[in-house]
């Protein structure tokens, strides 16, 4: 009997590819022989665009990379520019504190969408509805804080665009306290569920060594037993003052990554509550007039303030020539910004190292020899967002 493999096309509009990802699958019956991802359908030229904008004008472009975690993208970028300017130590405590709270809310927000869609792909509809209910609350907090539900553009080089609105601390605290219970609900629906276990345990296996070699980061790496988290190992925004653990599992399968992410959400909750306890009144922008905009009341009340504002908005600031690479622990892994300055007001070159781009690269080797249905689970567990893959 003659046998031959069949090539099928999955995407670019398949519901489980989470965006416009195309997978060319070579199948032997129901077994995957080879998977080839095709990306780039969402390429908007963010890196090219940023070379034509001042440093502040680039911040809204970064929102649109990983659009499920906009504030993490903002954070990585502003930290890189601050390092380039050498003003990292000047950032006020309150600004750092708020950055941490918002970054952890962002992590919850991103993980909630991951859990919702991952479970939905595998067939657990209920979890999707619960997760989006909680995500909506975070989006509301986003809107109250920054004015936008998704494209936040809240952080600035030197601090924040504005202070937290009145009463928001209570809302965030209430959310974080409720969230602990919600996490138990999700776990109750999934962890002990026989179908969930069958679909995730030993599916999408990758060893720690291979994970490092292929460049996996974030929960995908920690699910394979590699204990590495940039928040702890290269602390930024005073993360070293917070008490949290880095969950690690050694199994290296989809279930392990699921548990790691859920535990990570519990830790994020802890960090948010600690951040709220630490929150003290104070300035939210560094005392650095050549970089930061003046307070609005100076702009409307004095000619010097107006000129200062005008200069920064029209000309921007000029870091001295040099280059930096800053990596942060974004919800999906190491988000890196490599920025080269030539001494002008615009980045000479900005390279984004998006975690999803590198994590997706591991897909072919993770799905080789597995069933077609497990490809769906593996895409879900890698937690990719095409916005940052294609940039």
């Amino acid at each position: 009997m003659a046998t031959e493999t069949m090539t099928i096309n999955m995407g670019p509009q398949h519901p489980s590819t989470h965006g416009v990802l195309q997978l060319i699958l070579e199948l032997d019956g129901e077994i995957v022989v080879k998977a080839t991802p095709h990306i780039g359908f969402l390429h908007r030229g963010t890196e090219k665009l940023s070379e034509y904008r001042t440093y502040h004008q680039v911040i809204p472009l970064t929102d649109r990379l990983d659009y499920l975690a906009p504030m993490s993208n903002n954070l990585g970028y502003v930290l890189a520019v601050e390092k380039l300017l050498g003003i990292t130590d000047l950032i006020p405590e309150r600004a750092n504190n708020i950055r941490v709270i918002m970054a952890e809310l962002t992590r919850l927000k991103s993980h909630l969408v991951w859990l919702a869609t991952h479970a939905l792909d595998i067939g657990a509809m209920t979890v999707f509805l619960y997760c989006f209910r909680e995500r909506e609350e975070i989006v509301d907090i986003y809107e109250k804080v920054s004015g936008a539900r998704m494209t936040s553009n809240y952080f600035r080089v030197g601090g924040l665009s504005e202070d937290l609105p009145d009463g928001i601390e209570g809302i965030i605290r209430k959310f974080a306290e409720d969230m602990a219970g919600h996490l138990e609900t999700y776990e109750g629906l999934l962890t002990g569920n026989k179908i969930w276990q069958k679909r995730t345990i030993d599916v999408g296996y990758i060893s720690g060594e291979d994970a490092i070699d292929i460049g996996l980061t974030g929960a995908a790496l920690r699910g394979s037993g590699v204990d590495w988290d940039l928040r702890r190992d290269a602390p930024y925004c005073n993360y070293d003052e917070y008490d949290f653990e880095v969950p690690v599992r050694t199994e290296g399968d989809t279930f392990a990554r699921y548990k790691v992410r859920l535990d990570e959400m519990r830790q994020s909750n802890r960090i948010i509550l600690q951040g709220l306890d630490k929150l003290k009144p104070g300035p939210i922008l560094a005392d650095c007039p050549q970089v930061c905009l003046p307070p609005k009341k100076d702009v409307v009340n004095s000619i010097e303030g107006l000129i200062h504002h005008f200069k920064i908005v029209t000309e921007g600031f000029k870091p001295e020539a040099g280059e930096v690479y800053v990596g942060i622990e974004a919800p999906k892994g190491e988000l890196g910004y490599y920025i080269v300055s030539d001494g002008s007001a615009k980045p000479y070159r900005m390279k984004v190292r998006p975690p999803s781009f590198v994590n997706l690269q591991a897909l072919p080797q993770m799905v080789e020899g597995v069933l077609l249905a497990d490809v769906i689970a593996t895409i879900g567990t890698l937690d990719i967002v095409l916005g940052e893959i294609d940039r």
């Binding site: 780039g40 070699d213 460049g215 590495w228 280059e323 990596g327 070159r349 294609d390």
Partner: protein
């Protein structure tokens, strides 16, 4: 820590290390293009830089050599970073691939080829990755217009 690595590199490779610089606490080493694979293997095996965070090209139009390929690597044991650079000539824009050293370099190099037009010798699968397969030109080069090749530059709003 990174200082010791630079010393170690110089001791082992001598004149192949073209220079080193320190800026904002980050160490950059420029090395000879032809020996990049050997140097990267040494850094991975003997200096512990087992993780390649990022690889990208930079176009310094007007300078000779025109391009740089930048490797941002990370040591998972010591938690230190190191940046290695090679200089790439405009006439012969190619570097040996390091995808044999770190598999993760595969897609990074494809992207570098796609957007910057630097090719990688012995690469297992050097195709365009973000741009369409039939695209002409390399968008991230400094002489490539922002609005694309066949369009008038944007003149700003008229009103």
């Amino acid at each position: 820590m990174s200082k010791q690595v630079v010393e170690k590199l110089k001791a082992n490779f001598g004149t192949l290390v073209l220079g080193d610089a320190e800026y904002r606490g980050e160490t950059t080493v420029t090395v000879e293009r032809s020996e990049i694979v050997k140097i990267c293997t040494f850094l991975r095996d003997d200096c512990g830089y087992n993780f390649l965070s990022d690889l990208c090209g930079v176009d310094y139009l007007g300078r000779t050599p025109r391009f740089e390929v930048v490797y941002n690597m990370y040591n998972l044991t010591d938690k230190t970073r190191l940046r290695v650079k090679v200089l790439v000539d405009e006439q012969d824009p190619c570097v040996d691939t390091v995808s044999g050293v770190w598999s993760t370099a595969n897609w990074h190099e494809r992207e570098c080829w796609d957007l910057m037009g630097i090719s990688f010798n012995n690469h297992p699968d050097l195709r365009r990755i973000l741009m369409p397969v039939d695209w002409v030109g390399f968008p991230l080069r400094k002489d490539y217009p922002l609005q694309g090749p066949d369009r008038e530059p944007y003149q700003g709003r008229l009103s």
